[in-house]
């Protein structure tokens, strides 16, 4: 059950010829796949392509109706290997994952796939998670396209262009027997727009045909001597075929402009930003009508030499707008023009920053520099001189006066997150046994590196938390602790981490955070998800798997909120004499998904008049002394501060706001850490039963009697 339901969006997948689709870019891709007669789709979730996976998961019966097979792959490597079905059969297949983390994982399969080449169109849809708001290390997928020689599409970020890229992508792949990558930047994946749809197409050749009439072609298998033949074939046939297709079908676009002696070459993906930058420099209108000629590369690999030669003819200078480093395209263009002995000056990274996202302000400034150098006459006096507004603003008193008051706000554990108490327990163990080396992983649990926990030294990739502690496997006074999520565990951690630790006789401690979903990517199901699933095999125990690869010390904690138990179990794992890896499986459901699951049920039950108990915590202002150690042990969004009502005190008090879901950490924490007596748990009973009301009456009577005595005493005082 994914974080977001796409039941509505699924309806859009049914749109026919000439209908208008309104929606997110990544959903348009999904529709485009069905319009292209795709036979199978697979992938691994992760921003910004999670929604593609989620919508397909919700669209199961439509897919079955079309004879399209959809898989939630175990990893990006699995997804890429899935494309093997297109090697021998005329099957169109698409897989998706985020880059570059996913591309890294998929590289082995992609290289083998690209070596042998394909018969049916093979499309790899890449969410390029580069720039502002990215959740991964900054690299370009471009390098992967070049190293395995796969074609790279980088369409203009509007829905019609993206949809066209999907359709032509398959054709390009088939025309050149090469897998094709379609890269979409974060904002393009999430861009809301519209396009005119076509009816979905059933694949002519189906997976059933393939299974029942198997084929093999030795020449396509990546094994000497064929691999060397592949290398020649890549250069002698597949490349020229691809270049021919790109040219013949005009995949790249040329836009004329009056200033014909200069021009701008740009990746399709940065088209909108470039046009806006030109517009604000007074060199284009809102419809993309530009005074400067543009060469928009919707295909950024391979480059088409002839097109560059044609574009540069009669131009004294061009500006290349290429996002990210290194400047692969700019270097290639230099070679192309030198070979053709064309003297056009090439500008690019000398006027635009080498690294980082090409946001509006950045490109506007770069283009202004380019024009100022090559055609200063084109800068109209009245045009908003690019840097004026922003720079003046940045230096303005306003900006300065706030800058000291603005803190960073990194992502953090959600309200009631079951992972928080795990780190609270680690902090408590720290007090007793001192600090330990902690090898972190990818997933929500990585938020532990930020305050208030400040736990975790490195993260080496998804599922590689335990692997990241491999070297620290020697006799010592302390053991290393590694973290791993259930998502990462099934992705590869079981072998790369647990199996490896068993085989190398590691003594270290591994905490597997089992919240029942691939939570950080949007709550997708995984093999250990504890709810039965119609189309997927769930409810497979992590502890069984861990013991299966030879771990003997394995403990599952079924309530992570029991901080004392977490603390003591971790202490035992760190101190036990027993040899071999110690694995703690900390199991409690992701609160974000749990709330999404139970809130509607509660509401319905309450409306039906059934007894519903909602628990939440609170802090007594008059016993809270404003030290906030409870917050330092939790950091829950609903555990915050408020002005102190006590005129004698200055420190803000701790306050629990009504978003509290009553997870219990506050109480367990104040017990385990002996914090303070200010916390209380309130159980709010809706539709109390007769027995509830009876108890309440008796209690109120007796308690009320004593409370009146208290009142009298106070009044006398």
């Amino acid at each position: 059950m994914a974080e977001r339901s796409f039941k509505e969006e699924v309806e859009k997948l049914k749109l026919g010829d000439g209908d208008e689709f309104h929606g997110e870019g990544i959903l348009a891709v999904t529709k485009a796949l069905l319009q292209s007669g795709v036979s199978y789709v697979a992938g691994y979730q992760g921003a910004p392509i999670s929604h593609l996976m989620d919508v397909l998961a919700d669209a199961n019966e439509i897919l079955e109706g079309l004879g399209v097979h959809f898989e939630n792959s175990a990893s990006e490597a699995t997804a890429a290997a899935t494309l093997a079905a297109s090697v021998n059969y005329p099957l169109r297949g698409a897989v998706t994952f985020k880059s570059t983390v996913g591309t890294n994982v998929a590289s082995d399969a992609l290289a083998n796939l690209a070596s042998g080449g394909v018969t049916g169109g093979a499309l790899v849809i890449i969410g390029e998670d580069y720039g502002e708001g990215s959740s991964i290390m900054q690299e370009r997928v471009h390098a992967f396209a070049m190293k395995s020689q796969m074609w790279l599409l980088d369409p203009r970020p509007n829905l019609p262009s993206i949809v066209k890229a999907v359709e032509t992508g398959f054709e390009l792949s088939e025309a050149s027997n090469t897998p094709v990558m379609l890269m979409l930047r974060i904002r393009a994946c999430h861009v809301y727009g519209r396009f005119t749809t076509k009816a979905n197409k059933r694949p002519e050749f189906t997976l059933v045909d393939a299974l029942e009439n198997p084929r093999r072609d030795l020449s396509r298998i990546a094994m000497p001597p064929m691999t060397y033949v592949h290398e020649k074939d890549k250069w002698e046939h597949r490349w020229p075929a691809a270049v021919k297709y790109v040219e013949d079908h005009r995949l790249n676009e040329f836009f004329d402009g009056e200033a014909s002696d200069i021009g701008i070459v740009l990746q399709g993906g940065v088209y909108n930003t470039t046009i806006r930058a030109l517009m604000l420099n007074g060199l284009a209108d809102a419809y993309g009508d530009s005074k400067i000629p543009l060469y928009v590369m919707n295909v950024t690999y391979p480059l088409v030499d002839k097109e560059f030669v044609r574009f540069c003819a009669g131009k004294k200078a061009i500006l290349i707008v290429e996002e990210g480093q290194p400047d692969y395209i700019e270097q290639a263009v230099n070679t192309i023009l030198r070979r053709a002995d064309i003297q056009t000056k090439i500008h690019g990274k000398d006027m635009l920053p080498m690294a980082g996202e090409y946001t509006g302000g950045v490109v506007r400034e770069g283009i202004r520099k380019f024009i100022a150098k090559t055609r200063p006459d084109l800068i109209p006096g009245d045009a908003p001189s690019s840097e004026v507004a922003p720079l003046k603003q940045r230096e303005s008193k306003a900006a300065l006066s706030v800058s000291t008051e603005v803190h960073g706000r990194p992502p953090s554990f959600c309200t009631g997150c079951p992972e928080r108490p795990i780190f609270a327990a680690m902090k408590l163990v720290e007090r007793e046994l001192g600090t330990h080396h902690v090898s972190a992983d990818i997933g929500c649990h990585l938020f532990s590196i930020f305050p208030p926990f400040n736990v975790g030294a490195t993260t080496m990739g998804y599922g590689l938390g335990a692997a990241g502690a491999s070297a620290l496997n020697v006799k010592a006074g302390k053991r290393a602790i590694s973290m791993m999520g259930d998502g990462g565990f099934w992705h590869n951690g079981l072998t790369s981490g647990v199996g490896n630790a068993v085989f190398n006789k590691s003594d270290n401690v591994l905490i597997i955070v089992d919240n029942g979903y691939s939570a950080a990517t949007g709550g997708q199901d995984i093999p250990s998800s504890f709810h039965p699933h119609a189309n997927r095999g769930t409810q497979h125990s992590i502890e069984t798997a861990v013991r299966g690869v030879g771990v003997t010390w394995a403990k599952t904690i079924n309530n992570t909120y029991d901080v004392a138990l977490m603390r003591d179990t971790l202490k035992e794992a760190l101190t036990t004499k027993e040899k071999g890896p110690k694995v703690i499986i900390a199991h409690s459901e992701c609160m974000l998904n749990k709330q999404r699951r139970i809130r509607p049920l509660w509401r319905k039950a309450a409306d039906r008049g059934e007894r519903v108990v909602r628990e939440r915590f609170g802090v007594d202002a008059d016993t809270c002394t404003g030290d906030h150690s409870c917050i330092r042990l939790s950091g829950c969004p609903s555990l915050t501060i408020a002005p102190n009502p006590d005129p004698l005190r200055r420190e803000p008090i701790t306050k629990v706001i009504n978003s509290c879901v009553g997870c219990g950490l506050c109480g367990e924490g104040s017990h385990a850490a002996v914090l303070c007596p200010s916390f209380y748990r309130a159980s709010l009973i809706t539709n109390p039963t007769g027995w509830d009301r009876f108890k309440d009456r008796i209690r109120s009577a007796i308690i009320g009697f004593f409370q009146r005595r208290i009142e009298r005493k106070l009044a006398a005082a």
């Binding site: 904002r187 393009a188 999430h190 809301y192 088209y271 909108n272 930003t273 046009i275 806006r276 209108d285 809102a286 419809y287 993309g288 946001t359 509006g360 302000g361 507004a389 922003p390 603003q393 303005s396 306003a398 900006a399 706030v402 008051e405 803190h407 706000r409 953090s412 554990f413 959600c414 929500c444 208030p452 004392a564 002394t625 030290d627 906030h628 150690s629 917050i631 969004p637 501060i641 005129p647 004698l648 200055r650 009504n658 109480g667 104040s670 017990h671 914090l675 303070c676 007596p677 209380y680 748990r681 309130a682 159980s683 009973i685 009301r693 309440d696 409370q707 208290i710 006398a716 005082a717």
Partner: protein, 506 residues
Amino acid sequence: MDTTAQRPITIAILAMGGEGGGVLAEWIVDVAEHAGYIAQMTSVPGVAQRTGATNYYVELFPKHGAKANSPAPVLGLTPMPGDVDIVIASELMEAGRAVQRGLVTPDRTTFIVSTNRVYSMTERIAMADGRVDSTALLEGCKSAAKRIIHGDMAQLAEATGSVISAVLFGALAGSKALPMQRMAFEAAIHRGGVGVKASIAAFGAGYASAEGAPVPVKAEPPVLTHISPALAPLMAEAGSYAEPARMFVRAGVERLADYQDVAYARDYLDRVKAIAEIDRRHGNGSGMLLAETARELALGMAYEDTVRVAELKIRPSRFERVRAEVQAADGQIVEIAEFLHPRVQEIADTLPAGLGRWLLKTGWARGFVERFTRSGRVVKTSTIRGFLQLYFIASLKPTRRRSLRFANEQAFLREWLATVQTIAATNYALATEIATTRTLVKGYSDTHERGRRNYDMLMQMLPRIMETPDPAAALAALRKAALADDTGLALNIAIKDIRPLPQAAE
């Protein structure tokens, strides 16, 4: 027509993950599309949707403005500094972030700001007061924008039982920054179809606030303050002091009468009187020494012991406060459970001094009691059993003056007051800082012990501190350091930095 003049309406939304910034953006797109605009929206959620700062960007372009048989307009994907017409911030620090990023410009931007604070981690984990200056933030926002609409939209959302995105949507409509009519905005909410009734109410509140309607003040749970005839003369005496001391002395007298009895409040006043005399003799007329001492003395005398905690937790006013805080409706029953962890220390503290000391130093007795206090207790105050447990502890109040903790605290306060008085004769400013420094001693168990340790350390350092050019400032700095972290790291560094006067150094 001169198409270069045409530009889209640009809207940036700065919010935090889970606040419904996406819903707000979708409403804007919907209202625009139905008004004949071409709308584009994008965002960069990623992991930011896990409570981190996130942003959404919307561009609207009039269809009718479009060139004849022209392609669709090219709309931007990132807000460009200096080119944003409307910036909506769901929280004050996020508004500050928008200003910092240069998105808000005086020549163009209508700035819709919710002034509520969602405190950052840095602010929340501070050991004292780590809050940033909200006034500075709001002033910065005001001076940055062409036009600003601000108010506590979160409170409006709470008041209307809805979410902040609906209130902000209302404020946007009310700002008239978009050419659509109110009806059109409300229609979008109806089309949205989820929680329509509450959303419309919230929308209305936001709309009104944009038109300058005052934000209703939140009704705080009533604080009952009756003054018994026995206390009246003391209150009168407290009232005779001049500000800034007066409000503290009055609060102190009330607090201590409530904490123990009128006699205890009397003790307080007598001690305050002595300090007042010192202040008059050595003071600079500011009365700061008196004010700070009176404030800290009241807190010190009303230290939080088991009796006090029990007493506060069983009061009827407290039961009412809890009901209000969990927003319990009539017919709903509220059960309260306390999380208490009394240790041998607390038990000994409550016993008569002699017995308490004996328990602490007698191994077998201590061990015996410890067996029962290893883990914390959950006491259900709303049950008769739980209530009576606390009622019994509270009823030990009359024995407090004989308890071990009382003896210790009084000794501590006497010493503190003595130091304040002696120093005051030579260095009024430093004496005032010493008075304030008692604030380090607060809280329970570890927190209390840590605070006491730090306080003692600073007091032992007084001779060295007095050798510095500005002792008062030096002590203040050390106190700040003591509150910087709970490991004592900052304090140790600060102590090393204490530099004596040059001549003193020779």
